[in-house]
């Protein structure tokens, strides 16, 4: 398994939570180190390399967002998962903009956390290898060279923008993608507020690739944040996002 002996740095100011996470993540096959604050985490990251950092957003002293930005600077290859407590989109967007790969919202089940950690780990490792020419997810197959999308072997016509949008989503399968990030990547850096564009393109893509567009299995909505592309064959990305309503 990918997670075997992957190293995780758990950064949280609550000692009880750190202790529970250390025991549980160790039992799940991770090597766990702890840090009590953002400052301590920076020191630890400078000395050791970690595959993953689990970082609490709200801590006394240096905020989780600041710590995330600095850790990203020191250790670009580490996967960072933020722990947010306020279920508001602002924290999540800020965390992703600061370089986090994903987030979990407190309180989370251990299985949910380990799934997120494994998915992030897989993505960071994949990005180190050469980008594949053909992307696959469920019964979709996308040839990036030929710019062709096939569903169950049948070609589906996509406009150039639709293709770019879906290609970017499939390359980042499993990762949360903010509206702004999608707009800037697919439409250009001068975009960012044109949510209507994005929504109508997503709506059209869903019509073309989903069996039931009102109950999508590929392009999932992350409420108030953006979208997440799901590979149905990946058990680590559940269909219903782990939202507490």
């Amino acid at each position: 398994m990918l997670s075997q002996h992957s190293s995780v740095l758990v950064v949280d100011d609550e000692s009880a939570l750190r202790k529970a996470l250390r025991t549980s993540l160790t039992a799940s096959g991770f090597d766990v180190e702890e840090a009590r604050s953002g400052e301590e985490a920076l020191g630890t990251v400078q000395q050791h390399q970690f595959d993953l950092v689990l970082l609490d957003v709200s801590m006394p002293g240096m905020s989780g967002i600041d710590a995330c930005r600095r850790i990203r600077g020191i250790s670009p290859q580490a996967g960072i998962v933020m722990v947010t407590v306020r279920d508001q989109e602002d924290d999540k967007v800020r965390a992703l903009e600061a370089g986090a790969d994903d987030y979990v919202t407190k309180p989370f089940k251990l299985r949910e956390l380990t799934a997120r950690l494994r998915a992030v780990l897989r993505r960071t490792r994949m990005s180190e290898t050469v980008e594949p020419v053909v992307l696959r997810a469920g019964n979709l197959e996308m040839d990036l060279h030929e710019r062709i999308l096939r569903r169950n072997g049948e070609e589906i016509h996509l406009s150039p923008k639709e293709f770019d949008l879906l290609a970017f989503m499939m390359k980042n399968a499993g990762a949360p993608l903010t509206h702004v990030k999608l707009l800037r990547t697919v439409w250009g850096v001068e975009y960012g507020n044109e949510l209507e564009y994005l929504r109508s393109y997503v709506r059209m893509l869903r019509k073309k690739i989903e069996t039931d567009p009102s109950n999508p299995e590929y392009i999932l909505t992350e409420p108030w944040l953006g979208y997440r592309f799901r590979d149905p064959s990946d058990p680590d990305t559940p269909r219903e996002s782990a939202q507490d309503d």
Binding site: K109, L110, R203
Partner: protein
Amino acid sequence: MRHGQFHGFAKSARYALIGSITAILLAAICFRVHLDFASVIPLYLLLVVFQSLTGDFRSSAVVAFASTACLDLFFTEPLFSLRIDHPLNALALAGFILTSLVITRLVARVREEARSAKLQKDRLNRLYQLAQQLLGLDPEAPLGEDFLEPFRRLFGIKAVCIFEADSAELHLVGDSRELAVKTRDAYIRGLDLDDVNARVSVRRLQTSGQLAGAIGFEGLQDSAESAGALTALTVALLERKIAFHTASAAAAAAQTEIYRSAMLDALAHEFKTPLATILAAVGGLREAGPLAAEQETLADTVEDEASRLGTLTSRLLRTARLDNEHIRPRLEPVDVASVVAPVIRQYSARSSDRTILLTGGLESAHVSADPELVRLMVSQLIENACKYSRPGSVVTLSIERKDDFVSIKVSNNGSSIPRNEQKRIFERFYRGEDAKRSTSGSGLGLYVARKIALAHGGALDLETEEQGDRVTFCLKLPTTKDEFKHALTA
């Protein structure tokens, strides 16, 4: 009053007597030194002017007639007789008396105006001082003795009394039980009162068109005019007191909201971290070693319940935030079916005791709405339906498309809302009598759900049925506008 009139007459008579004696003396002296009629007239005019400057109009008029008589007796032919032979002399005397009276009248009027201006200035000055002293008082203190004392001191009033309708308190400064009774009486009758004999004036106090009390004065000079001014001042201060009270109540309410918000944030954090710890620990327990079947079941229970507590905390927090804030929905074209379907799945999985049934199929119906907020409203309605219906009952949901609206109806059997509570269930923090007894809740859910519906230009209503134990809530949302339709079909 009669005493005053008599006093006035005596004073006028005294002045008239002195003036008349002076006129006779002047006649004697002038006669002695052989001054003629033409030379004497200016001297008498001077006397009349002097008289009008010192005395009042009545005495001056008497002196004018006395002077004319002296002129006739001593300086016109035939002497020592009131008869006048020469018509020119008669004309001169007539001119004299006319001029004297006109001068007297004019001077008297000027003096009267000067006196009244001085009085006016004096009253204004006292009013100003009074206002200054009253403004120095604590604006929120009750209008008691401290408030009334300056009235008495500055206006030399015998007694002053105020009745405040709000507190129904009566305050009196000075010794007059009669005034207290009259003041309260004027308030009850809603009429002003002027008792000239007792020198009592009572005025109603009206703030923003409402009768707020009455104020009574005893022994006030020029009571008709002064009472009006003093009442106006009292009303202004009463209004200031009300304004201060309103402002401080609003400030207190705002402060409470800030505390509430901060408390909720802190609670959310304080609750969620231990919950995360419990979940991490129970997950670790499972990972650490194979658990026996019953241990596995118990671990599942701990995990599920801790998650549920987390969800409840989040929901409470979000509802409380929405309650507190102006809701600004991020409108987008939303297919109601795509929002409702996951909620039904979620609640079906969660409440195994109740069946959640979608009647009429999941036809797509587009509205312009904030999908997250719609999800929140639908969740709230389904949750209420589950909560207030008996275990084993069926909760039904239907989506209907009308011209301008899409209605989402959620009904449950096995409970009813009493008629007197039907109107109130959407009120903030209101909880029905049965609800209070049978289940827990914040009393915010329906209030916030309706607030969200209204912010969308929609509505949330209770559909009442005359008979049976069935409760139906109908959520209406406006259908997608044309510009969105364009985006949908593009």
